[in-house]
Amino acid sequence: MSRSLTRSRIRVISGAMVILLASLLVRLVYIQIIQRDKYKNLAMQQRMRKVDLPASRGGIYDRKGKSLAVNIAMDSVYASPNQMSDRSQVASKLAAVLDKSPDEILQLLDPKRGFVWIQRKASFDRAAAVKALNLGTVNLIKEYKRAYPGQELASNIIGFAGLDMQGLYGLEVHFDKYLRGVPGYMKVEEDAIGRNIPYGVRKIVPPADGQDIYLTIDSELQHIAERELKKAVKNARAAGGCAIAMDPWSGDVLAMASCPTYNPNNYGSYDCMAWSNRAVQQVYEPGSIFKLITAAAALEEKVYSPGDTVINCSGTLGIDRRTVHCVRHGNSSGHGSESVSDVIVNSCNVGAATLGLKLGSHSLYRYIREFGFGQVTGISLPGEERGLLQSSASWQRIKTANIAFGQGIGVTPIQMTRAVCVLANGGKLYRPRIVRNIRTRDGVISKEYKVEDLGRVISPETAAAMRRMMQRVVLEGTGKAAAIEGYSTGGKTGTAQKVGAYGYGGGRYIASFVGLAPVDHPRLVVLVSIDEPKGAYYGGVIAAPAFKEIVRSSLIKLGVPPDKGDAVIREDA
């Protein structure tokens, strides 16, 4: 080979090498400098992992801070079927530790899918058993579950949250936007085996945890109300019932019980009727307890004084070819001569109708509205009913008479309790309050629900006169079963017929009792209503004993000293 040929070959190869290196250099410059950001981002994405940081749902607490609804972290089991070699083996292994059959699990393991839930929020034992299997393609992930430590306690108020921690019923749905919070995320740099690289790139958008809700409910009083209501409903073989205990000086709901009730930890296994809160969702004709409103309006308008004779009750009263019957019609000659106080004590329909007619439809309607009927109370509970109240313009005389003793009008238990609070506190109407405040996780109050005084309805004198009448009902009238040893008590019984498809009748009643104690300075107003009792159905027989037990136990819990002579009091040694 000649020397010149060798040289020319070297030159060609060198030239090719230079061109190759130059093109590589150009490419390098293009990638490293011009396209720098793009490739940097791609590389980062390969190393970065986004981790969702779920916001913790806020808790629900009673007025003393006792937890009623909290969160609990649980393990959920998930699988990656597209990475499995033997799905049936995995299914049988999982079935041995989970509460599912192998076929059920095999059906979930769709080979085309990269992620499937096997069991969400499994119990601690089961999660540990799955972890011990060490299957590789089956793993655990932490998820929060809503838990209600009190079980059935206040469940009709609180409601429940779903599997994804979204509010579904009760306060859980009403305050969902406060409770839910805002989820965050974290981006972390990972090494080859998926561990976070310490001091690597880390971007955190922290979650904003949900806020806590503090109620006006007192857990102990709530338990007492639920216990006594359940007992009363059981004894009366009734379809249901409700009980409310309210502080008349603020409108704070201290207890609100419904029956039937349910355990929100397992809400799916109950009939949905058990979820409802009868205190705000049940509209019923109040019956005789409504006579308190008529009498208060008549006294306030000075149509009568408490001692004035209203009527000589003969058992019936004819109004425009219709007849109003008193409870005593047919058995005797009626109640005879009655004052306003006697009308309440005897629970006389004829007397109440006379009061209503004397007062006049417009005046009666105005007072009914001022006592808060025919409109929502504005309590922070979902699904509150406004009741049924027609305008007085359409009232016939018989309608006025009927409404005066609690027929032809629909009220909710919360409306009725609030109206009696007006008599208890000297004449002021308050908005019922069930939520005291909403607090951030640091305990800072973000929203305060203040006591709302909605104005004066009746004078303190009228209210005091009404309380005396209510006391007489317990001492000598239809409410003797509500008398409490050591405490002066006032109240009113009510027995309302339920309206069916063919009007009144069918033997279906709502027995109720609403009262207050102590009479001079009431600390509690309590309403008990029992829906469709079997056998005895009078409010004084069915509801008054439950009222007595609720008030007696609650006053002792609240530390209210006895104000009546029959209390057993001894001096501390």
Binding site: S67, V70, G150, L153, E226, E485, P562, I569, R570
Partner: protein, 166 residues
Amino acid sequence: MALSSTMDRKNSYGQAKNRKNRNKAVEKRREGAPLDTRAAFTYMTILLLLSLPAFIYLYQNACITQKGYQVQKLEERLIDLSLERERLQLKLDELSAPERIENMAQSRLNMIYPERVEFITIKEPVAETKLASAGRLAGVWNGLVDGLKSLEGLRARLTEVEASQP
């Protein structure tokens, strides 16, 4: 032209000489000529000194990374413990539910609701405290008066003694 050919010859001669010298040195080394150990030691020392900071830096980095993983593990443990605390708190709340306590009291301890409630009036502790403090004050006052009296007696006695002295 003649000049350039002379220079070419000189250059080729010089290159041949250099090649010869290099070959000689290689041959000498092959023959087992002793290395300059001092120079080698110096080189090695310089190399070590230069690489030492790099080693220290790498070691530190490794330590930091290891500690970082430990911190991560501890953080995970902290989360697990706080979750365990939440679980235990829930258990506590469930166990202290009023209905459960009532049922246990009735079924296990045979407790019943009282037929008759007795109210006990307790002497107000505030009044007692006031009395006690008033008593203490009175005691202090009496002590002060007694002290003054004894002081006066002492002074009188002193006067008497002074007077009796000549």
